[in-house]
């Protein structure tokens, strides 16, 4: 079976090389049939990769330990779903997984767009092929998932913390996001290579970018929730290099999604957009490099391996080639329009872009700082949490405010008068809620108070927008209120889906501000019968139990919880001792207040033989809003992503007319 897998990957490599060479030649010489053949080779490569993936999956499911990969990542007793998740868990498998998504996405994107953007497609194919060549080269030569060995009796098994339902979904979404970013990149390069530097590559890839971006966002939220519930240190994000590796391309893609609208509407920011898409793709590659090279001290340390230098070389090559092309096409990329006023929608989007990019680059700076300082000063210097938190506030809070301003301000040039009418109510609501919160004691954290006030501002603008749109549709005769609302949503999905996503980001910001700026913590060593209090909660340590489960000994302390005079029942916190793996894991107790979104979070830090327990207890206000934001985010992304033939036609139509400075 391993031979079949190896052969399939060799075929993929061959097809990818062919698609690259033939595709480039066809595009250069203008040979139509050769170009078609290259496209077919790309499609065929996706099928051969699928075969290879099937072989690996079958081996994992059957626990065929003659595959070194299977023996290293799973064991006989591992539940089926984790045998499957081992496919993307280990290094070789994850590279194969990447290649499979890449070739599938590439073939699909090419097929969907070849009717109306043929001149772009002929050049996008060799770009896809080049990326596929790199990854198939890795899985064929450097890190083959099909290496074999004399089968041991059992495999090495999987780290307990990965035997978790989150690991079934979290990596898939992250990979879909990383790989999905290849599509806009390939089309952007295709437009540079072909010299057709109009807006069509944006129209062709709009939904792909949105999809990749949404997947990356969902993947990160899943990861945070996993960290919060399972890892149990009381937080959900630690600015670890690997977490940053997913955040950076997401921020770059967010900037891109916004600046694209400026290019579609006004033909501006052409060079900027290509730079952003290049940055997002390079950061996606860099993320993979970070997780796999072991160059940085991270809480997550994956198998360290030799693929690091290959990745660095490929990133350098990608950036060099793209920048050279961009430079050569600069004269053609000159924008036909220019920014007319620093108070306009274009300008607001530009500020949004600069802030997002600044945040992205400061994170990047923080991530590579240890490497740079080691190279320059001979000693690695690590930037701590305070560095990242500081810049999150500096760049994130203005971004939050702009989210309310950007979508409402007029194109081209906004007058002071129109600003006053548009933002009168949101400003009023924000000020009132600011004052109310201040009297309620939110002044203990100024950044938190600012975040809340800005959030009120943005939410008001969003609600007003929906109300205004619904009223307009009702005036057009849409009948009932709800009918008008839905017709509003379906008529302009991108716009209103965007508002829903904005609402989710506001909810997220409120959750983050609440749980990080206004949280409280208490710790105490308790013997049975003792109690401790935090905020208005009182916890009484009642009993300690030891249970023996199939794979672990579970030690649990039971706490009686009350708030004021009200009894809230009991909460368990403790530790699991995994016998086979000789590992301990914290099992935290969380009590969520569904009404206020507040969590009481209990960690049994240390259990002594005499039964005393050292507890660490957090009260995290509003933390549940973060997870609710996730659902709203998915909803908004779906609305914006939902296929809409009419809108796509309109965009195609507009993209052929753009370039005229005339207003429409």
């Amino acid at each position: 079976m391993a031979e079949l897998g190896r052969a399939a990957l060799l075929v993929t490599l061959g097809l990818a090389v062919y698609a690259l060479v033939a595709g480039a030649a066809a595009a250069y010489l203008g040979r139509r049939r050769l170009a078609l053949s290259a496209q077919n080779a790309l499609t065929a490569a996706s099928f051969s990769t699928l075969v290879a993936s099937g072989v690996l999956l079958a081996a994992l499911v059957r626990s065929d330990f003659s595959f070194s990969y299977v023996a290293r990542t799973t064991s006989e007793a591992l539940p089926l779903q984790y045998k499957i998740s081992a496919f993307w868990g280990g290094q070789e498998g994850s590279l194969l997984f990447w290649l499979a998504i890449l070739t599938a996405c590439g073939a699909l994107a090419v097929r969907l767009n070849r009717a109306w953007a043929r001149d772009l497609i002929v050049w996008a194919v060799p770009v896809f092929a080049a990326v596929a060549v790199f990854f198939s080269f890795l899985v064929v030569v450097v890190a083959s998932p099909f290496a074999t060995q004399a089968a041991p009796l059992d495999g090495a098994g999987m780290t307990p913390s990965l035997q978790n339902p989150y690991m079934l979904a979290h990596p898939i979404f992250l990979y879909l996001g990383y790989v999905g970013l290849t599509v806009p990149f390939a089309f952007a390069l295709g437009s540079l290579l072909s010299g057709r530097v109009d807006e069509r590559w944006l129209v062709a890839t709009r939904r792909w970018t949105l999809f990749a971006w949404a997947a990356l966002g969902i993947g990160q939220l899943l990861g945070s929730h996993w960290a919060y519930v399972e890892v149990g240190w009381g937080g959900y994000f630690a600015w670890d290099p690997v977490e940053n590796a997913a955040l950076m391309p997401w921020l770059a893609a967010t900037a891109f999604l916004h600046s694209v609208m400026i290019q579609e509407k006004r033909g501006m920011l052409r060079v900027w957009n290509i730079l952003l898409v290049l940055l997002a793709f390079a950061l996606a590659l860099f993320g993979t490099f970070l997780t796999r090279s072991g160059i940085l001290n991270s809480i997550h340390s994956f198998t360290q391996s030799s693929i690091g230098p290959w990745f660095l070389a490929f990133i350098a090559l990608t950036v060099a080639v793209s920048l050279t092309l961009l430079f050569r096409r600069l004269p053609q990329l000159r924008s036909p329009t220019r920014l007319e006023s620093p108070v306009s929608r274009e300008a607001a989007f530009l500020y949004n872009n600069l802030l997002l990019l600044a945040l992205c680059l400061t994170i990047l700076w923080g991530v590579v700082y240890p490497i740079l300082s080691e190279a320059v000063r001979g000693e690695a210097v690590v930037l701590g949490r305070a560095y990242y938190d500081f810049f999150l506030r500096i760049f994130g809070l203005p971004l939050l405010l702009l989210m309310g301003i950007g979508p409402l301000i007029a194109w081209r040039r906004a007058s002071l008068q129109s600003l006053l009418t548009t933002f009168r109510w949101p400003t009023l609501v924000a000020l009132v809620s600011g004052v109310v919160l201040l009297t309620l004691g939110a002044g203990s954290s100024i950044p938190g108070l600012i975040a809340y006030t800005f959030a009120a501002f943005v939410l008001t603008t969003i609600v007003l927008e929906f109300a205004r749109g619904t009223r307009a549709r009702m005036a057009l005769g849409a009948g009932s209120w709800s009918g008008a609302f839905f017709s509003l949503l379906t008529r302009n999905r991108r716009r209103y889906g965007g508002y829903v996503v904005h609402a989710s980001i506001v909810i997220l910001a409120v959750g983050i501000a609440g749980s990080s700026a206004f949280d409280s913590v208490a710790e105490a060593r308790l013997t049975r019968g003792d109690s401790m209090s935090i905020g208005d909660y009182t916890l009484v340590y009642q009993s300690l139990d030891e249970r023996v489960a199939s794979n672990a000994t579970e030690i649990r302390a039971t706490l009686g919880v009350s708030r004021g005079d009200r009894d809230l029942g009991t909460l368990e916190a403790g530790k699991n001792a995994y016998t086979v793996e000789a590992q301990l894991s914290n099992e935290v107790g969380i009590r969520s207040d569904l009404l206020t979104g507040e969590d009481l979070f209990v960690i049994a830090e240390q259990v002594d033989p005499d039964g005393t327990v050292y507890f660490r207890v957090f009260v995290k206000p509003l933390v549940n809003l973060i997870w609710i934001a996730g659902f709203v985010f998915v909803l908004g992304s779906l609305i914006a992503l939902w296929p809409n033939a009419r809108e796509q036609r309109r965009l195609i139509q507009r993209s052929s007319e753009i370039g005229l400075p005339a207003t429409r």
């Binding site: 090495a156 809480i299 340390s301 000693e379 210097v381 690590v382 701590g384």
Partner: protein, 136 residues
């Protein structure tokens, strides 16, 4: 269109200036940058550093009382590279002899006193087989 200096340039210039100002502000108030060094590089340095190494047993004491006491040696180094460490606060699940950890603190009279709660353990390589050859 009337010829005038593009506001775009002004905007970009202003934002660059803003960025620089913020960087200056940051370095002056929020400096949270620590050198990351191996135990054998510590010698007589007494400024705040991040120490990365491998835990050497035995582990004594109580993290929530007087503090845990253990020795941290270089990754890939032997016992002679070890430095005594005192630590209190949260102890990550994965902390044990032979594990790679990172702590932040400073050297005081020959003992590295870590800041409470600063310990981070590195996961054992996620899916890698059990490391049998790692000397503790």
């Amino acid at each position: 269109m009337a010829r005038q200096a593009s506001p775009a340039r002004l905007v970009i210039a202003l934002s660059v200036a803003g960025l620089l100002a913020i960087f200056l502000l940051y370095t002056s108030i929020a400096g949270d940058a620590n050198p990351s060094i191996a135990p054998s590089d510590l010698r007589n340095r007494t400024e705040k550093v991040q120490l990365a190494g491998v835990v050497l047993g035995p582990i004594r004491g109580d993290a929530h009382a007087a503090g845990l006491r253990f020795v941290l040696r270089d990754m890939g180094g032997d016992r002679r590279t070890g430095v005594p460490v005192r630590y209190s606060g949260s102890v990550p699940d994965l902390f044990k002899v032979g594990r790679q950890i990172v702590v932040v603190g400073r050297l005081r009279q020959g003992v590295f006193v870590a800041e409470p709660g600063s310990m981070i353990t590195k996961c054992p390589s996620k899916y890698a087989p059990k490391q049998s050859g790692d000397p503790a």
